[in-house]
């Protein structure tokens, strides 16, 4: 019966590493996502400069435009950090406000990128026009799907905060959505660098 004292260590919240299951699981998922985007980005790099018909990247990319949209997306991460901080402090109104900013900036990013897409299509770059078109649209399109999913998730968090279902003790729910959002931002930095800056 010497074990009686230690027998209840599996109580809620206790784990072998001290980090919650949700966090370990989500980091594992992010590792998986790294390989996912790694494959998409590698494909773009492999096909870089091998398109046989135009338009070519250097003809159509507007680096200034994309720099602005990138900046907007990066600042959304800052807003998210502040939202998490407010959640941990129990200031749910402020948290909701910052999360709205995150969604707004995500929408701004999507809007700017959407206008770029329309411009590229005008130039004649489509999914099937060349390997550049295929690799570019599927890579950046997949990233946009991730941004949209993140916005849906944050929308759900806003609703939960509004209903008072995320007290400071459960702020990890916001933190994990933040891990996702920051990851999506970081991936965009890699894409921005490799696709737009290093032409």
């Amino acid at each position: 019966m010497a074990q009686a004292a230690t027998a209840s260590v599996e109580e809620h919240g206790h784990t072998s590493t001290g980090v919650s299951n949700w966090k370990v699981g989500f980091w594992t998922f992010i590792a998986s996502e790294c390989l996912f985007f790694g494959t998409l980005i590698s494909t773009y790099m492999v096909y870089k400069g091998r398109a046989v018909v135009g338009p070519y990247p250097e003809e159509i990319f507007d680096v200034l435009h994309t720099t602005i949209s990138t900046t907007v997306l990066l600042f959304s991460s800052l807003a998210f950090v502040l939202a998490l901080h407010a959640t941990q402090q129990g200031k749910k109104g402020i948290a909701i406000l910052w999360l709205f900013f995150v969604i707004a900036m995500g929408a701004g990013f999507l809007y700017m990128e959407g206008t770029s897409y329309l411009k590229y299509i005008d130039y004649g770059l489509t999914l099937g026009s060349s390997t550049f078109g295929s690799a570019y649209y599927v890579l950046t399109g997949t990233h946009k799907v991730h941004v949209i999913l993140g916005m849906v998730w944050i929308g759900a968090l806003i609703w939960l905060l509004f209903r008072g279902r995320i007290p400071p003790a459960k702020s990890e729910q916001v933190e994990i959505a933040g891990l996702y959002w920051h990851f999506v931002d970081i991936i965009w930095i890699v894409i921005f660098t490799l696709v737009y800056l290093i032409q």
Binding site: Q3, A4, S8, E10, V24, F29, E33, F36, G128, S134
Partner: protein, 616 residues
């Protein structure tokens, strides 16, 4: 307390614990890892018979030269679906069945980290498998082989829905695999009992961890490749279309960057199984435990650097070829190390040849044959001769059937008493083993010769002038014997499930924690969580007594377990439906298909995971 020992039969009948609901709906809504494991096993066995029947038709067609039993088109569908089913719907989920049942029990946890996610992964796998096989009902089964090389899969050469079924089916299954990988990594890293350090974990749990890492890293790569293929076929991209500047070799790279780790996803669980069984029936601890662990991890790493040995005939150039030759030969080393560790475990042990042990020893023999032929075509010049011949077919059946499947069958005989509280019949078991050994070797050994004499794979017939008739006839006879062995196995399972000899808690005198529970275990596994102090906790008398005092008595109050839920099956159906709608190629239909997924996800997220009032 002294009456509770390992030898006391503690079956469901012997303990008067809480009545569990066993009706149909309780299985549909279960989140219990043990029940999910049983469902995985049953589903995988059903798919095993579906794919096995295809193999028998293939063997019947090949028994004599220039036969026309089935059309070339149907033959293509059969070998494609045989391979696809055996790998994605049999070998992988069969291993996952063992992960599910054993990992929480072996590390001293009450369930996996995410029980509902676990159920979701199972239902997605099942629906994905049914979707993939439903292609036969509309006469459009995949027909471009399990590797689906571009440009055989291009809209130009594969019009119709055949390849769409394949790429969408595999995408659905990939989702389930990643969910499983995330779940088991989290469970093993985070939910170990006190004292269960990483280097005290049973080898099976270790290999589950390595396999899970391979799953979460390899599956995304084929996921992207399948997305490219789907876009090529449905939305006109040119990733693999030479006419648009695309490179078909890119498909091969992406496929095999996934495909080779996949080989280790298949074999490592079997290595884990026999690493647990051989010590038990040798009455000795595993020889060189840390070395076996490190070898398994090393295989996982190097497995990432050998993919192009599937592509020597592509002409990647001498530098690339040399690198992959070297890497491939290097990966044989940790595998060889493991073989010697198992042999050294048996050396000087007091061996007991139960059916489980026979399958382990059988694995050592036939897997080594497959390993040796693997080293033969690791050499690029030799490989050029063997590529796409029956020699390769012989090789990979020796490693996948002779390695992965034999290991899992060993596990079946070993852990069945734990699952059911009854033994599998040993006499039928030995029939199963020997018919498997004879049938398997008779089927696949002659294929080495047929291949070396020039018989190509994936061709619906062969010329009499090739002089490979006799090898094909031996293979066909062997295949039918192998088929009979599988019937014996199922007969044994059905019979023993109903009326097998009752088994005690630890019938084999095994050392690990799963044997410190009644057979079958309570749905909460452990009334209280034991503390572990060594690698073989049940082999040290004092430690064993302490553990059993914690794990065997019924608790005053049952531990709190997660609620059953029907959202996993609903969400899985929604996900499968949304992917299936991609076949239409109409963007707004596809977009609409996402709505039920989002809806079911929200319903799931807002449903309490634990009973009300316990504030989780």
């Amino acid at each position: 307390m002294s009456t509770i020992g390992l030898e006391t039969p503690v079956g469901r009948e012997a303990t008067a614990h809480h009545e569990e609901d066993t009706g149909f709906w309780s299985w549909i809504t279960t989140v219990d890892h043990k029940r999910i494991a049983i469902m995985y096993f049953v589903a995988a066995t059903a798919f095993f018979f579906i794919a096995g029947l295809k193999a028998l038709v293939i063997r019947a067609q090949l028994m004599f030269p220039e036969q026309t039993l089935i059309t070339p088109e149907l033959y293509n569908q059969f070998f494609t679906m045989h391979g696809t089913t055996m790998i994605f719907l049999v070998a992988m989920p069969m291993a996952v069945a063992f992960f599910n049942y054993l990992v929480p029990l072996q590390i001293g946890a009450r369930d996996v980290a995410f029980p509902r996610l676990n159920a979701l992964a199972f239902w997605i796998f099942l629906f994905g498998g049914i979707y993939l096989n439903s292609s036969f009902l509309v006469g459009a089964a995949p027909h471009a082989s399990w590797v689906g090389y571009a440009t055989l899969t291009s809209p130009e050469f594969s019009p119709g829905q055949n390849t769409n079924f394949w790429l969408i089916g595999l995408s659905i299954l990939g989702i389930a695999s990643i969910m499983g990988g995330v779940n088991f990594i989290t469970t093993i890293i985070n939910m170990r009992a006190p004292g269960m350090k990483l280097m005290r974990m049973p080898l099976f749990t270790w290999m589950t961890l390595v396999t899970s890492f391979l799953l979460i890293t390899a599956i995304p790569v084929i996921g992207v490749a399948l997305i490219y293929l789907g876009f090529d076929r449905l939305f006109g991209t040119v990733f693999f279309q030479p006419a648009g500047g695309g490179d078909p070799v890119l498909w091969q790279h992406l496929f095999w960057i996934f495909g080779h780790p996949e080989v280790y996803i298949l074999i490592l669980p079997a290595f884990g199984v026999i690493s647990d069984i051989i010590p038990t029936f040798s009455k000795k601890p595993l020889f060189g435990y840390p070395i076996v662990v490190y070898a398994g991890i090393l295989i996982g790493f190097i497995g990432w650097g050998v993919w192009s040995h599937h592509m020597f005939t592509v002409g990647l150039g001498p530098i690339a070829d040399s690198f992959f030759v070297a890497a491939t030969m290097i990966i044989a080393i940790p595998t060889g190390v493991k073989i010697f560790n198992w042999l050294a475990t048996m050396w000087g042990g007091s061996l007991k040849f139960t059916t489980a042990m026979l399958f382990c020893v059988g694995l050592l023999a036939v897997f080594t044959v497959g390993g040796l032929s693997g080293i033969m075509h690791a050499s690029a010049p030799v490989n050029l001769q063997q590529h796409d011949s029956y020699f390769v077919v012989a090789h990979f059946h020796y490693v996948i059937v002779g390695g992965a499947m034999m290991g899992l069958w060993a596990g079946l005989y070993y852990w069945f008493p734990k699952v059911r509280g009854r033994f599998l019949d040993e006499t039928l078991g030995k029939w199963h083993f020997w018919t498997t050994m004879i049938g398997f070797n008779l089927t696949f050994f002659p294929m080495h010769f047929a291949g070396l004499f020039g018989m190509p794979r994936r061709i619906f017939t062969y010329s009499a002038e090739l002089n490979v008739d006799i090898y094909n006839q031996l293979s066909t006879v062997g295949a039918f014997i192998f088929g009979i062995s599988s019937v014996i196995m199922v007969w044994n399972i059905v019979k023993s499930w109903r009326s097998g000899e009752p088994a005690p808690a630890n019938p084999w005198g095994a050392p690990h924690l799963e044997w410190a529970t009644p057979s079958p275990p309570h749905h909460y596994n452990f009334p209280r969580i034991p503390t572990v102090r060594s690698r073989e906790p049940l082999w040290h008398k004092q430690e064993r007594d302490e553990i059993l005092a914690v794990t065997m008595p019924d608790p005053e109050e049952e531990p709190l377990m997660p609620n059953p839920s029907y959202w996993p099956i609903v969400l899985a159906a929604a996900i499968t439906l949304s992917w299936a709608l991609v076949m239409t190629g109409i963007w707004w239909v596809i977009a609409l298909g996402i709505l039920p997924v989002i809806l079911a996800t929200f319903m799931w997220a807002f449903e309490p995971a634990f009973p009300e009032g316990h504030g989780h």
